[in-house]
């Protein structure tokens, strides 16, 4: 591969290179870095506070919702009287049981279709 460079241009580029004093440049940059660090800290504190507030206000309603969902899922699909049969099918005779069965079917179908 050709990487030949013109010697005159090469020497001009070398001569044009200045050794630039960096004190002012570094000071300006580091003040920007410090500002960035402060802003990042403030942002994280803000996010933390927002999360705490959300948890504070949402804890009650979320707990109620979780209880309602748990109660709903455990309701029997078909009313069965007490007995051995009722006790045997009890885990499947709920909305939660149907959901679990559906998930298992979807997973095994996916594996059957896409397994290499």
């Amino acid at each position: 591969m050709m990487n030949d460079r013109d010697p005159m241009l090469q020497s001009l580029f070398a001569e044009a290179q200045d050794d630039l004093a960096g004190d002012a440049f570094v000071a300006t940059l580091m003040s920007k870095v410090d500002r960035h660090v402060r802003l990042a800290r403030l942002l994280w504190i803000g996010i933390g506070l927002a999360l705490i507030l959300c948890a504070w206000f949402a804890a009650g309603p979320m707990q109620e919702a979780a209880l309602a969902v748990t109660f709903g899922l455990s309701q029997p699909l078909f009313p069965l009287h007490d007995g051995l049969f009722a006790a045997l099918v009890a885990p499947l005779n709920t909305y939660a049981g149907v959901f679990a069965l559906l998930l298992l079917i979807i997973r095994s179908t996916r594996r059957a279709l896409f397994a290499s």
Partner: protein
Amino acid sequence: MVGLACNGDRDAFAELVRRRQSWIRNLMRRCSGDPVLADDLAQTVFLQAWRNISQLRKPSRFGGWLKRLAVTVWLQHLRKHDPLLNADEIDGAGGVAHAIAGREPGIATDLDRALAALAGPVRLCIVLSYHEGMTQSEIADLTELPLGTVKSHINRGTRQLQTLLSDYNEKARSEEPHDE
């Protein structure tokens, strides 16, 4: 030093900047032709370096990583200010000529004036080749331009610079010792 900076050590990063600032500022000066703009862009490069240095996996590659950042910052600047960059039709001399006009005469000023006459991508390839000493394949890799394009940019830019800086060529020839 780089390892410390990767872990968020501010003083280590400041020392890294102190060591590399002249190199990056010179690179940006050759690209932009404007010392003030070059320093602004160099500041942007180092700020981005500070923000992303924790993602640097191999500290030994800091130099190459910084160079890639610098090229990215310069390309972003070009895209922001030169919408025709991708069409390769820009005339980079417009904004730079004003900045060069007020500078002290000298090799750097003459070189920057000549570089300003080149189109943005040509200028970048020339600077990476002559200022950074990179090979054409390294430039293609860094700029994500096809190798053939890099070759033609460098050939075209070299010819243009030879013409624009012909005074220096003649001067160099006249200073060569003559065999009699």
